[in-house]
């Protein structure tokens, strides 16, 4: 394979005038209990995609119980007053429906996709799981121990492990993003059934729910079914969002070295604080990130892969979450070229800051984002449901999509270069490396006055 598509965070625009895009028509209503219900009927393949978003997500996990929202989501399908976990799986699998329930930094998303004709059964399964889970003790224990094992096993894959370490190290223990949404083996051991049931009672309330359906359905019937099912949720209290805050103490560059003695490559992240989803700089940051590390011909991939053969891939991402996230680059290289690759990545960043981008690059990035956007976000019902869910979660309007191309077109070269200076490589850099420490320990000292080293076998992902 040529490119492993692992960092399709938000990146993905043209010389010819790209057609404008519009979100298809949809209806929006607020049920009596505060739940938002959006419906987007569209003809085509007879599939329906329904998402239930619960505001809060990992952000709402108590500091010492990281993974609580994620685990609560996992247990939804494992027992209701009318279905055991087995029965639920049996019914779901029998109609070939998909079901996933996971927490990210600001929401829990329960997603199901089913054939239009199976709507009755599929919606019954969905609402039963979301609203009436009984959290059987035995299932809670099983799920917890499975998650603990999964957390351990994540250390066996250096790429995801490096990503988790970087998150924890970057944001630090006092920041809500300084904990993994999945939790780790230490935090999961502190979670019990009572905490899970309490999290469900607190968060799965009408005022925190967003229900979105997109696909081939009759809108009146779908409205009736969903409104009836979800009107039964108690209104509850609206989740009080956490205030934005800076990442962990930044008094100079920091570096975390995770020792994996058997690794043949070093996996590394370098980043600084960036923007929020609602930041006015979001579009120019997206454009600049596309040029920096968001596509194959990006500056990073060009330098580290195409021109030097140091790696199979180098990329960057600009997070757009509810709270300020990271702008960070990621790559990997064989152990003995670690310093060469890090130096080169930093050189690319420095050149971007010094030289900025050209009008030709700006035009190319705009075309790329516009050209790839339809297939990335608007092609299927589940993508459209996702776009709609995001609009509701962040309190946006359909203009977020409908005006997107006009807003991309409006970004000037001055604006783009302003966000380069403001956000790319600005402030203290945070480094995280997973690799054979004995061979790279001395070399990496030059990047940061503070180097923290831990063996990968240390339980959990906490960094003291």
């Amino acid at each position: 394979m040529r490119i492993v598509p692992f960092l399709l965070a938000a990146a993905t625009l043209a010389a010819q005038p790209a057609p404008q895009v519009r979100l298809p028509q949809y209806t929006h209503e607020v049920l009596a209990n505060g739940a938002v219900l959006d419906l987007m009927p569209r003809k085509g393949v007879p599939l329906v995609s329904v998402l239930v978003l619960v505001k809060g997500g990992a952000e709402s996990d108590p500091a010492e119980l990281a993974g609580l929202s994620s685990l609560t989501a996992e247990l939804l399908r494992r027992g209701t007053p009318t279905r055991t976990a087995d029965r639920f799986s049996e019914e779901l699998d029998f109609i070939g429906a998909s079901f996933s329930a996971r927490a990210d930094t600001q929401s829990t998303t329960i997603a199901t996709e089913f054939m239009s004709k199976d709507a009755e059964r599929a919606l019954d399964l969905l609402s039963d799981a979301v609203l009436h889970p009984t959290f059987p003790e035995e299932e809670a224990k099983k799920a917890l121990s499975q998650r603990i094992e999964a957390s351990k096993s994540s250390k066996d894959s250096p790429q995801p492990a490096a990503s988790s370490y970087f998150q924890v190290f970057f944001f630090g223990p006092r920041h809500p993003y300084g904990r993994l949404a999945s939790g780790d083996e230490l935090s999961l051991k502190r979670i019990d059934r009572a905490a899970i049931a309490a999290q469900h009672a607190r968060m799965y309330a009408g005022r925190n729910l967003i229900i979105v359906a997109a696909g081939d359905f009759d809108p009146a019937e779908m409205r009736a079914k969903l409104a009836k099912a979800f009107a039964t949720a108690p209104a509850g209290n609206a989740y009080q969002w956490q205030k934005d805050q800076p990442p962990a103490d930044s008094s100079g560059p920091r570096l975390l070295l995770v020792d994996k003695p058997d690794a043949v490559q070093t996996y590394f992240w370098i980043g600084n604080a960036g923007i929020r989803r609602t930041d006015p700089d979001r579009i120019p940051v997206w454009i600049v990130n596309t040029l920096f590390g968001g596509r194959f011909t990006s500056l990073l991939n060009q330098a580290l892969r195409v021109d030097s053969g140091l790696t199979y891939g180098a990329s960057s991402r600009a997070e757009t979450n509810r709270l300020t996230g990271r702008i960070a680059l990621f790559s990997y290289t064989r152990t003995d070229s670690t310093i060469q690759a890090l130096d080169l990545a930093l050189e690319v960043l420095k050149r971007l800051r010094e030289k900025g981008i050209s009008s030709e690059q700006l035009a190319s990035a705009k075309a790329y984002l516009k050209g790839t956007f339809p297939s990335d976000r608007l092609e299927t019902s589940d993508q459209l449901a996702g776009a709609l869910g995001e609009i509701e979660l962040y309190g946006l309007t359909r203009a977020d999509i409908d005006d997107l191309f006009a807003r991309i077109d409006a970004v000037s070269l001055e604006q783009a270069n302003e966000v380069v200076r403001k956000h790319f490589g600005a402030g203290d850099l945070v480094f995280t490396l997973v690799g054979n420490a004995a061979k790279i320990r001395d070399g990496v000292k030059k990047y940061a006055p503070q180097v923290t080293e831990i063996p990968i076998a240390t339980p959990g992902y906490q960094v003291k």
């Binding site: 790209a18 799986s89 003695p261 490559q265 064989r334 790329y368 092609e379 004995a438």
Partner: protein, 436 residues
């Protein structure tokens, strides 16, 4: 209710199948074109399937097909080094490519206004690829990094070992990415002979799905692709894997948190009449949380945190692979034993009518999900043409599936999942300290 559910699924899939209006055309040089118009989004998925992969390689030059795939992006006559990607991306397009044991596939996604330029670029590299020694040197390192990536992952390392043990003689024995020694020693001459060996338009199927007019695609293909001369396709792969006559076991000691286990069985080639029975069996055993292996290993006995199974499309007899992720501290012999009991249970007692029905429903719903996107349609059309010999066979999958009986499923389990046809690969964790 259950039956009604099935009928509706079947009906839906059937409708989808028949609604896929595909225009075909064969260029004078033998390249076959499959075109389906879909105007949902203003984009096109243009795929080229070359019937050449690692099965066409030889010892000493393993991994060459995949390396060649990489080199296809490093410059031709009209569009020099880097230009393919630069031109695509500045026009709003994106590409990728992949190599399997059996084929090499180039995948382009782009706004429909770019169609003519895309065909010009593809024709340029298919006809006049250049091999710049500097690019060869640097791309070799890129591929090596890709390989190390898989060495550092438990799954990648164990999968390679399993394949090498399942196949002793047939070229499926070596990894698609190639052995390290071969990656280090590919030469310019190897690349050129790989091209001469079978990178021919008559050995390629082009699939275009999306916001296009079939007549326009055909006219542009005639203009740009038809002048590429035909030449001989790759010689047939002569080696037939001898029948396995006893269990094989291989082990990998690796610094690791958890063990890992993969179990492989020889199965027939994809276009065999038993294909759909094996697909149903695959779902019964390992698809969804109601599947037999999930229930037993993950849920009931709590020996593993995940279990999966399935087979890749293959032109020659291939393999069915199960992957079990035991928990830490679980002796892999125990998870293997539980796995084998479940396999024996299917072999001796068969499956229930409900399981049969469920597996078929799951299979069709998954097939249907593939049809949501222009990329998924292009992929299915190409795969059915390559591996089933005719893209139209994707329109009758519902009928093929309907024919499968519980008895068929038990029969394939008996025939292929027996102890003599089994290869077990186990990753045994070493403490990281020991690795120093």
């Amino acid at each position: 209710m259950r039956i009604a559910g099935l009928i509706l699924l079947l009906y839906a899939a059937l409708v989808a199948g028949q609604q896929l209006d595909v225009k075909t055309h064969t260029l004078d040089n033998g390249m076959k074109l499959l075109i389906h118009e879909d105007h949902n989004i203003p984009n096109v998925a243009l795929y080229f399937f070359f019937k050449i992969g690692s099965r066409n390689e030889r010892p000493g030059a393993t991994g060459l097909s995949h390396f060649f795939e990489h080199m296809m992006f490093n410059g031709a006559k009209k569009y020099g080094p880097k230009q393919f990607d630069i031109v695509m991306e500045k026009n709003g397009g994106r590409n990728n490519a992949y190599t399997t044991r059996d084929d090499t596939v180039y995948t382009d996604w782009f706004p429909s206004a770019m169609l003519e330029q895309m065909l010009d670029m593809e024709a340029d590299r298919i006809r006049d690829l250049s091999f710049d020694p500097k690019m060869i040197k640097s791309e070799r390192e890129v591929v090596y990094s890709e390989r190390r990536n898989s060495e550092d992952s438990n799954f990648g390392a164990l999968d390679e070992l399993l394949n090498a043990a399942v196949f002793m003689a047939h070229p499926y024995h070596w990894p698609v990415i190639g052995w390290p020694s071969d990656i280090e020693s590919w030469t310019m001459d190897d690349l050129q002979s790989h091209f001469r060996m079978g990178y021919a338009p008559n050995n390629c199927v082009m699939v275009a799905v999306g916001d296009v007019k079939a007549e326009e695609v055909i006219a542009l293909a005639k203009k740009y692709l038809e002048p590429i001369p035909r030449h001989d396709p790759p010689p047939p792969v002569r080696t037939v894997e001898p029948e396995q006559k006893g269990e094989r076991r291989v082990a990998l000691n690796k610094a690791s948190q958890l063990p890992l286990q993969m179990i492989g069985y020889h199965v027939p080639r994809t276009d065999s009449p038993e294909h759909y029975a094996l697909e149903v069996l695959s779902n019964v055993l390992a698809q969804g949380r109601s599947s037999r292996l999930y229930r037993r290993l993950v849920d009931r006995d709590q020996l593993a945190i995940s279990v999966g199974g399935g087979s890749d499309l293959s032109l020659d007899p291939g393999q069915f692979t199960f992957t079990i992720q035991p928990r830490s501290g679980v002796d892999p012999a125990k998870s293997e034993q539980a796995f084998l009991e479940e396999i024996e249970r299917v072999r001796s007692a068969g499956i229930s009518p409900e399981e049969l029905q469920k597996a078929k429903n799951q299979w069709l719903a998954d097939f249907y999900r593939e049809l949501k996107r222009i990329s998924g349609k292009a992929n299915l059309l190409g795969d059915y043409e390559m591996f089933f010999g005719d893209y139209r066979k994707m329109f009758t999958v519902d009928k093929e599936l309907e024919k499968v009986t519980a008895e068929d499923v038990q029969n394939v389990a008996k025939r292929y999942f027996g102890p003599n046809n089994k290869t077990v690969a186990t990753l045994i964790p070493e403490k990281p300290e020991a690795a120093k």
